[in-house]
Structures are given as structure tokens and as C-alpha cells.
């Protein structure tokens, strides 16, 4: 009986080991700081409130723990506020302190990106800042694509161009649409 139990335990251990290997291969996404800074670069400093609320303050969705020791509390007219560098915590001291460094893509993350891109492209100041440098003489797809993909990604650009080939031949594609499309695309977030 005892031998049977040992054999059974050994078998369970063996199959457990074989079937539930723990190595995980996950796409390495940029964290809230990377995503937030890129969006600020594209849409301009006037959009900081939106980016802060939707990206910087969401370490659990985008990854990137906060550092409570990076911040200081100061008195202001309306009461008190926390000042500090980009690593400061927005709330809940400990849960943000221990947030993961890298977070894989998830429906929550995709949703959050869609939301922030929508909000940014709806705000006139943000939209204007993003599109002010676009050269109308040049290919608008590439010009706007390069806001989010400043370096490389030639194959992806080619795929986008091909997808819009028929449409762009007939009429120019709405810049706001392109901006939102590239903003919501996933690859620029991958590091």
C-alpha cells in the first residue's frame, strides 16, 4: 500500500513537471512611463492631464511600479499635493510600489490605450500639436506613422500603406483617423 502511494506520488510529480512547465514567453511591452512619454511627445505638454490620468496613474495596467520615496507632500492653495518626478505614486502606496515592471498586453491595456488615444485626438490642442508638423506635400500615412514609429518598422509601414492603397488613390485619408489608428496600434509599445 505504501509502495503504491509512493509510486502514485512520483507519477503525479512527473506529470506535473512535464505538463505545467512554467517558462513564459511574453511580448515585452513598454511600461506606463514609456507609453506616457511617447504620447506626450506626440500630443504635446497641454495634454499632460489626460496622459497622467489614463496612463501614468495606471501601473497595474501598463506596468512600472512607483517609488513613494521620490515624492514630497507640499501645501498648496486648495490643500495638499504630491510633487515629484515621474516615478511618484498617485495613490495606494503599497500596491503601486509593488506593481509589476513588465505587463503583457491585455484587454484592459488595449482598452486603456483606445481610451487615451480617443481622448487625446478629441482635444483640439492635442490634435493640433500632433499634426502641426505634418508636411501636406508628403505621404500623410508615413508622416503620421513616424510620429509613433520614429525609427525603423519598414515592414509594418509597408503593410499599412498597402492596406490604404486603394483608398488613398481616390481621396486623401483623414489625418485624425490615421492619428488615432497609429496611436491605438500595438507595435510602438513593444520594446
Amino acid at each position: 500500500m505504501r509502495a503504491l502511494r509512493t509510486v502514485f506520488t512520483l507519477m503525479m510529480l512527473f506529470f506535473n513537471h512535464v505538463l505545467w512547465s512554467q517558462t513564459q514567453v511574453q511580448t515585452r511591452y513598454g511600461d506606463r512611463l514609456f507609453v506616457g512619454e511617447l504620447l506626450l511627445r506626440v500630443f504635446g505638454p497641454d495634454c499632460k492631464t489626460i496622459v497622467e490620468k489614463e496612463v501614468f496613474n495606471k501601473p497595474h495596467i501598463f506596468g512600472g511600479p512607483c517609488d513613494p520615496y521620490s515624492q514630497r507632500l507640499v501645501k498648496v492653495k486648495e490643500g495638499y499635493k504630491t510633487v515629484g518626478p515621474r516615478e511618484k505614486c498617485s495613490e495606494s502606496f503599497f500596491s503601486q510600489y509593488r506593481a509589476d515592471l513588465i505587463v503583457e498586453n491585455s484587454p484592459l491595456r488595449s482598452g486603456a490605450i483606445a481610451k487615451v488615444c480617443q481622448s487625446l485626438s478629441q482635444k483640439k490642442a492635442c490634435l493640433n500639436h500632433a499634426l502641426k508638423g505634418i508636411d501636406k506635400e508628403k505621404d500623410s500615412i508615413e508622416e503620421i506613422f513616424r510620429l509613433f514609429y520614429p525609427i525603423g518598422h519598414e515592414r509594418l509601414l509597408g503593410e499599412f500603406k498597402m492596406a490604404f492603397e486603394d483608398v488613398s488613390r481616390k481621396k486623401s485619408i483623414d489625418h485624425k483617423f490615421l492619428l488615432k489608428l497609429f496611436c491605438q496600434s500595438e507595435e510602438w509599445q513593444i520594446l
Partner: protein, 607 residues
């Protein structure tokens, strides 16, 4: 799956058949003398050795280049001076190796060079040919390490475009911007971001960062920064003269240098439910409990921990933060003895030896003992500290010894249930064993009370050893235990199978052991591999896992071997970013697809 099952059955069959005498050839290794020893003394049972070259012994974890003591093949020899359990050749197979034979094997391993990091099989997953350009490689490391997008007009990017630098070279130049060799403070914005990112990475390796764990010690947050533990690694990364093993040596602790334009007026920790009226630092005192009456404590002018942006790291200055007095309990706590006051003038940043293992912060975070109570060697043992050592520095969860090893420590007559069963002893012998090294430590208060304007903080105090060693390390509980000189039992089986069971007398000795352990280096390379590529390798799944896991495990092992040799975290990063894992845009996707396929093509030969 079929292949792994076959391997399992083969193992069983081999076990049944045992050693056989078959014609043998001499292994083609780099030492003729060692090859002769292997042929004459080992091949009877280990027949596969006859086809091995040096690299085959390395691949299989039998040999650590240049380090006989850490090599399974050498360390498990009877008559070797390794400190590991020595069982080879088995007694029933004959005499141990002669000193000359042992020496031949030792010399051979000492002369083997660490292999290049290239793992040919890594290329297997690089199928699409869609490689990152040099500029994209730089953009990738820049984004990862600074957590900012690469500016289009970055000077290093220009140099890449001009063909003066490769992507990997530019990443290396970038990393040097946070160098701490000349100055403790980094002035460039990029350098600071580098330190902040890697500090964040290293902080995530610690399983315990919460100082709020015993008797409302929230004042601890004001004088300790748990992130300072991670500074050991960050300092080693950015200071080329601080090799990785130095983390486990000495009594120096490290601290982050921070800077802020705002004045620090309030507490860090939001102690109150509402932030409408935060607590002002100047209204409280960290030391000096009673200034008059029968208890006269000297005042303690502690400098609260700096806050603000991290701008550098330095060794904590000695004799700066001196705590004049400690008390081992509050007055009137009936379950304790009467309050004792200790005038020790203790440097609260000074380590207790063994580098980070004896750092006061690491001890405080992990002691998990009631204030004023020291270990009794039975129920009351700082087990979390021991568990964290295995987890935080070696990526090992308990148990770290196999059940049969635990049997000799089982005591059916013990009043403690966890000393009676092998499944319990299996963990307790490792935990309780090394926790014996901090048996003299207990947590004390800085002042009598946390009420009113006095902020309590807690600190480690060492009891003086007044007894001679008499109690067993794995005992049933004895008040004398904490008054005996520190000694512990190291019971540990490395991933490569080396088994250690010996007494250790100091934290320094334990630190030396970890710094020599291949498990530590494998853990480090695994963590960096994850940070840089997103691959979270299961270090314990090497033998029976899928094709890509075996290749990754092999790659990680090579990284670890090299790390153990060069001792540089910067070089480790360079090794990883120079590999196809980092360069191929679709590498991970190929690997994910591979995971879903039967890995038939990755047979033992290709491995």
C-alpha cells in the same frame, strides 16, 4: 511528450540495469591526465563520458569552467576539498580516487575556459529573417532602460546612421552614462533615468519590502528606504570595480542619493485616514523617550531618510546615524520581562557581515519576530529571513533538499510537530538551519512609546553570547539558544545536484557560499533575461521541457557561467543584447508557435 516519456522509461531501465563493463574509449577532453582518470575510474558507470568533450561536461552542468569546487564532477568526489557531499566513486565500487587522480581532475577543470555565450540553437527560432536594424536595437535598449522613447536626433543615433557605432555598441555607451566610478551623483538626465529603471528592476527581486509589520512600526518608513537593498545590485551594475560577489561581503550598506526642489515637511507614509491634515515632521521626535524622571534617554537627532528623485548611490557613511539608546519592550507589557534599556550608540546603517545578508534593513524586513524576543531555536525562529535568502538571491523556493536527506533529522520524540515528519523537516532543516546564524539578533524599539510626539522605530540589536554552544541547531526551543555563539546548518542542494550539509559559523561564510553558488548566477541571468526579452525562464524545468525551453535553459546557463567568471552585470547585459533573442523582431512569436508544436526536431544530439 512522447520523447519525455521515453526518457523517463530509459532512466528507469538504466537504473535497473546498473553499471556494465563495456569496451571504453578515452574521452576527448583537454587534459590527457584527467581523461585517463575518467577512463579508469568513472566510465564503468558513466559510459556516456567517453564521447564527451569539455563543452559536453559544461552543457550538462557537470563542470563549471575554472571552478572545480562548484563543479559537480569534482565536488562529489570522495577526497575532494569541496564541502559538498562526496559520494563518488561509490564505496561498493572501490577505493576513492588517489590524491594524484583528484588533482588531475582539479587541474583540468581549473584550466577550462568559459565558453562563448553564443548558442547555435538559438538561431533555430530566428526564422523570419526580420532582424532589427542597428538603429532599432538602440531604440529598443533606450526605451527599456530609460523608459522614454528615443529622441530622433540623439547623438548616438547619428553615429549609428553614420556607421560609426553598432546598435549594441551604442547601448553600451548609453549604459556608461550612469557610471558611479568617479562620482556618486549622476548629473545627466539619461544617467539618472538609467539608475532609476535598474533600481526599479532590482527592487522587484525582493520578496519583502514592507517595514510595517510589527507593532505598528510605521516610523520605520521615515528612516529606512526599502529600496536601499536594491542599491547593492544597482551599485554593482554601475561601478565596474564592485564585482557581483561583493554584494555578499563586508558590513557596508548602500543608500540612494535623492534630490528634490520641494522642502520635506511631512511624513512619507499616509498615516492618517484623511490627507486633510498630514503630519508634520517637525512636530515629532524619533528618539528621546523620557527626558526627565527615572528614565533619562539621550536625544536622538536622526536625519529622516531623504526623499526626491534618485540621482546617485553611495556606500552609507559610517557613524552618521547613531542611535544612542534602545529598549527591548514597552513598559507595562506583562507578557514580557521588565523593560531593559540599552545605551549602545549603534550605527543603524552598519551591516552585520555577509553584505546584504546582514544588512540591518534586510534583517528588519525579514525578521518577522516580536519586539524584544529572540530566537529560541524551536518555535521562535526568523524563518522568513532564511526563506528570503533562497528566494531573493537564488530564485529557489523551499524545499531545497530532497526528502531522503531530511530523514536523519526527523525526531519522533520532539514536542514540535514540524520536527517529526520528513515533509516538514525537508524545509525546516534549511530554514531553521541557516537562521541559526542570526540567533543573537532581536528587534528593539528606539523609544518607549509610539504615542504623543514620539515616533517609534525598530532596530536590530545583537545579544551578547554568554553561553557555550550546547543546544542543537534544529532543537525544540531553549531560551539559552540566543545567547550561544552564532552557528547555523547549511542544508542545500544546488540545481546541478550538488548537496551541501555543513555547519556555518558566520554570515560572511554564508555570503561566500552564495557568491560561489551557480544557483545565484543562474538566478541573476534569468532575471535579466526576463527584463530584456520578456522570457521568464523556469529554471527547474530544464530536463523534461520543450525544445525551446531547453535551448533557453542552455543559453541561460552559459550566461550564468560567464557571469560567475566575469562578475559584471554590465557584461551580462551585453551578452544578452548581442544575442538573436534581442535582435529578431519575431523571435518571441516563433518561440510561442514552437511551444505549441511537438519539439521532435530538438533531440539530444542537437542539444
Amino acid at each position: 511528450m512522447r520523447r519525455t516519456l521515453a526518457a523517463f522509461l530509459t532512466l528507469i531501465l538504466l537504473g535497473l540495469v546498473g553499471c556494465q563493463e563495456l569496451p571504453q574509449k578515452t574521452p576527448s577532453i583537454s587534459s590527457v591526465d584527467a581523461a585517463k582518470v575518467l577512463k579508469n575510474r568513472c566510465l564503468d558507470c558513466h559510459r556516456d563520458y567517453q564521447n564527451f568533450k569539455d563543452e559536453d561536461f559544461i552543457k550538462r552542468g557537470l563542470v563549471v569552467p575554472g571552478k572545480p569546487q562548484s563543479s559537480f564532477l569534482y565536488a562529489s568526489l570522495r577526497n575532494s576539498d569541496s564541502g559538498a557531499e562526496q559520494t563518488m566513486p561509490p564505496k561498493e565500487a572501490g577505493d576513492p580516487l588517489s590524491p594524484e587522480e583528484v588533482l588531475a581532475l582539479k587541474k583540468w577543470i581549473e584550466k577550462i575556459k568559459v565558453p562563448e555565450v553564443k548558442v547555435v540553437e538559438l538561431e533555430t527560432f530566428s526564422k523570419g529573417g526580420d532582424l532589427l536594424s542597428e538603429a532599432e536595437i538602440f531604440s529598443r535598449c533606450y526605451g527599456q532602460w530609460l523608459r522614454s522613447p528615443l529622441p530622433r536626433h540623439h547623438t548616438l543615433l547619428k553615429k549609428i546612421e553614420e556607421g560609426k557605432l553598432s546598435g549594441v555598441q551604442a547601448c553600451k555607451v548609453l549604459l556608461n552614462k550612469a557610471s558611479l566610478e568617479k562620482e556618486a551623483i549622476v548629473n545627466s538626465d539619461e544617467g539618472r533615468k538609467l539608475i532609476q529603471t535598474f533600481q526599479s528592476l532590482h527592487r522587484s527581486w525582493f520578496s519583502e519590502l514592507n517595514l510595517y509589520n510589527t507593532d505598528e512600526q510605521w516610523g520605520n518608513f521615515e528612516i529606512y528606504d526599502p529600496g536601499n537593498l536594491a542599491a547593492y545590485f544597482t551599485y554593482s551594475l554601475f561601478h565596474s570595480k564592485k564585482d557581483l560577489a561583493s554584494i555578499f561581503r563586508g558590513k557596508t550598506s548602500y543608500e540612494l542619493i535623492r534630490k528634490s526642489d520641494a522642502r520635506r515637511e511631512y511624513f512619507i507614509f499616509p498615516y492618517q485616514e484623511t490627507s486633510a491634515k498630514p503630519l508634520k515632521l517637525k512636530n515629532f521626535s524619533f528618539g528621546s523617550g523620557e527626558e526627565k524622571g527615572e528614565d533619562v534617554y539621550p536625544p536622538w537627532k536622526i536625519r529622516p531618510i531623504p526623499t526626491g528623485e534618485i540621482v546617485g548611490i553611495r556606500p552609507a557613511p559610517k557613524k552618521r546615524d547613531i542611535l544612542p539608546t534602545m529598549v527591548d519592550t514597552r513598559k507595562g507589557q506583562k507578557e514580557f520581562h521588565g523593560q531593559r534599556v540599552y545605551h549602545l550608540n549603534q550605527d543603524i546603517r552598519l551591516g552585520r557581515g555577509g553584505g546584504i545578508l546582514g544588512d540591518p534593513l534586510f534583517l528588519l524586513l525579514n525578521m518577522k519576530m516580536e519586539i524584544g524576543k529572540a530566537s529560541d531555536g524551536g518555535k521562535r525562529i526568523p524563518r522568513k529571513w532564511a526563506t528570503s535568502i533562497f528566494k531573493d538571491f537564488m530564485c529557489r523556493d523551499l524545499p531545497v533538499v530532497p526528502i531522503p536527506r531530511a530523514k536523519k533529522y526527523i525526531r519522533k520524540d520532539s514536542p514540535l510537530s514540524f520536527r517529526q515528519k520528513a515533509s516538514c523537516v525537508q524545509c525546516h532543516m534549511s530554514m531553521d538551519g541557516i537562521a541559526g546564524l542570526i540567533r543573537n539578533f532581536e528587534v528593539n524599539y528606539s523609544v518607549d512609546s509610539g504615542l504623543g510626539r514620539y515616533i517609534q522605530t525598530s532596530h536590530i540589536r545583537a545579544r551578547k553570547s554568554t553561553k557555550t554552544s550546547a543546544t542543537p541547531i534544529l532543537g525544540d526551543g531553549d531560551e539559552k539558544y540566543s545567547l550561544e555563539p552564532a552557528r547555523g546548518l547549511l542544508a542545500f542542494q544546488s540545481r546541478s545536484g550538488l548537496y551541501y550539509e555543513r555547519e556555518v559559523a558566520s554570515l560572511e561564510e554564508l555570503g561566500d557560499f552564495i557568491a560561489e553558488s551557480s544557483d545565484f548566477y543562474q538566478c541573476m541571468s534569468k532575471r535579466y533575461l526576463y527584463f530584456l526579452t520578456g522570457i521568464n525562464l523556469d529554471l527547474d524545468g530544464k530536463d523534461l521541457s520543450s525544445g525551446h525551453e531547453r535551448v533557453l535553459w542552455q543559453f541561460n546557463q552559459k550566461l550564468a557561467l560567464r557571469l560567475q567568471d566575469h562578475q559584471s552585470l554590465r557584461q551580462l547585459i551585453e551578452d544578452i543584447i548581442s544575442s538573436p533573442l534581442y535582435r529578431d523582431r519575431h523571435y518571441l512569436q516563433n518561440m510561442k508557435n514552437e511551444k505549441q508544436r511537438e519539439p521532435a526536431q530538438y533531440d539530444e544530439a542537437s542539444y
